[in-house]
């Protein structure tokens, strides 16, 4: 017997190279991201100072003792950056995880259901939520929730931002998942499952959801970057994590007035943030690229 795979010769080269190429960039991304996560965990534990300690003179340039320098009141920026990193990364992972789960579930059900009215209603809501520029809806919600009190472990300002993100982010995944589910709904293998009399719930779970979540998960990894960037932007707009809690955005916001003399206060955490984003983009891109 011969293989009936249609030869797609002209793609072979690009595809193969892309596979190798993306494998390299995925590896780089994973190593970079792993390093940053490890530092966020271990730097605050192993460091002799706590992020809010006044450890030395203010405005000290980066040195061996203080790799990222000190800020306007003499706190160690290296420690603050990696302590703040946990706040950003956990928050981003938490809200994105929530958004992926809720969005994928709702979107898949909307795309797969035969009750088209349910789909219509959900998609109207999704359209409306997506129509708002993210920051504007966030700010409106942050104001409504209030941002002056810390909640448990979460520093003041964070819960409001998290709730706001959770209210908004799911819609993107719902739209993505619905589109994918709609496409899969009419795929031959789903029609075959229906014709074979499989129960509708297991068709959705076994034959549609895995195809949908591959896509939404790959997007989610890329989306973590966006959430971190947005969280870090909030202090510039008078929202977000409130001082003195360390968080990438709030550290940079505090440093913006001293840009001329002490650039490191802003640039160092910014560089770590950008590298985090770069590593996640490498991973996400390689996941999406691989599917072709």
């Amino acid at each position: 017997m011969t293989t009936a795979t249609l030869p797609r010769p002209f793609l072979a080269q690009g595809w193969l190279r892309a596979l190798v190429g993306t494998h390299v960039s995925r590896l780089v991304g994973i190593v970079m991201f792993g390093t940053i996560v490890a530092m966020c965990i271990f730097v605050p534990i192993l460091s002799p100072y706590s992020p809010n300690d006044f450890v030395n003179m203010p405005f000290m340039a980066p040195s061996w003792a203080h790799p990222f320098g000190t800020d306007s009141v003499g706190r160690d920026i290296f420690v603050r950056t990696f302590a703040g990193g946990s706040v950003d990364l956990i928050a981003a992972a938490f809200t994105t995880g929530f958004a992926v789960i809720v969005g994928t579930t709702l979107g898949t059900l909307a795309g797969a259901t035969k009750h088209r009215w349910a789909d219509t209603i959900l998609m109207r809501i999704v359209d409306a939520v997506i129509a708002f520029p993210l920051i504007i809806l966030l700010l409106a919600l942050v104001v409504a929730v209030g941002s002056d009190k810390p909640w448990g472990f979460a520093p003041a300002g964070l819960p409001a931002a998290l709730i706001a993100l959770m209210c908004v982010q799911w819609a993107v995944y719902a739209r993505l998942a619905r589109g994918q589910a709609l496409a899969l709904r009419n795929a031959d293998f789903v029609v075959a499952s229906r014709v074979a009399g499989l129960n509708p719930f297991s068709i959705v779970m076994r034959h549609i959801t895995p195809g949908v979540s591959r896509i939404t998960l790959a997007y989610a990894i890329g989306d973590v970057v966006l959430v971190v960037v947005i969280l870090a932007s909030l202090p510039f707009l008078g929202a977000g994590v409130q001082p003195p809690a360390p968080e990438w955005g709030s550290i940079m916001y505090e440093g913006r007035g001293f840009l001329r003399n002490a650039w490191w206060i802003t640039v160092m955490p910014g560089a770590v943030l950008a590298l985090t984003g770069l590593s996640l983009s490498f991973i996400a891109d390689s996941l999406l690229d691989n599917r072709r």
């Binding site: 359209d127 929730v145 910014g270 985090t276």
Partner: protein, 318 residues
Amino acid sequence: MTLRAGWGQAAGKAGQSLLTLASVIVLVFLLVRLIPGDPFTTILGSEPSAAAEAALRTALHLDVPPVQQFFDYVAGLLQGDLGQSAVQRGDSVSGIIAGALPTTLSIVAVGMLLSTLVGISLGLAAALSPYKGVDLTVRTIVMLLYATPTFLIGLLLTLVFSIQLGWLPAGGWAGSYPENFPFLVLPGIALSGHLGPIIARTVRQAAIESSQQLYMEAALSRGLSKSALNFRHILPNSVLPVITLLGISFGSLLTGAIIVEAVFGLPGIGSEMTKAVARRDYPVIQGIALMSACAVIVGNLLAELIYPLVDPRARSAS
């Protein structure tokens, strides 16, 4: 007949947009009413006086039944009335927005232009030698830019071009043209730091895909030169998705503009929003949210209407 089908399609899309707009209005209306917690305490502080509360209740139009509130709100919207500022008494929300809008729109325009130019050039440059040196460099730069927050790009630009080199102002606004132009350069560049990479990525992907298409191979087999093919076939096919992208990026551009305004101290929608957030001026926040959602919806609609004009396939698809 094709023309009539085209109008029908356009009308259908406009109808969809109107529906979305209606849902947006409902959402904006509910925003202040569905959120857990009492808007009065968040706006007025933890223990508001009865008089202040009553005044605010009237200002926010909360002293009538909810259904009537909604219809009054919609009736107001239809007359262009977005309500009154809760803090600056006597200032209408629409007046505040109208005053700030031109500044924001000019930044958005500059950002859009720069993103498109830089994004398309970088994307094509990368795609010409996929998975090789130029491509890897461009992709890394593009991803790094994408991962750098807009405000950080803005701050770094200020550090280099204003503080170190003194070439351009670090912020401010002249208020009239052409004096405004120097004040637009750095904000525009900062703003394009987000959309530019997205466009570059899309163009690169489309260009690579189109260079792998069978029509490229068929054209090659007819003896056409590679450079002619790049110009006549790859360029148009890879720039097409940018139109859609620009349309759906209106929201993220507005988001970026708000941050850029905060960094460079420009008197636009972003500054009004930040001010309103700081003062808990709810009607203004609501008004800006509604206005920007409208802008996004219009942007999407424009992209959907323009696309069939440039892609013949979209014209005849039913």
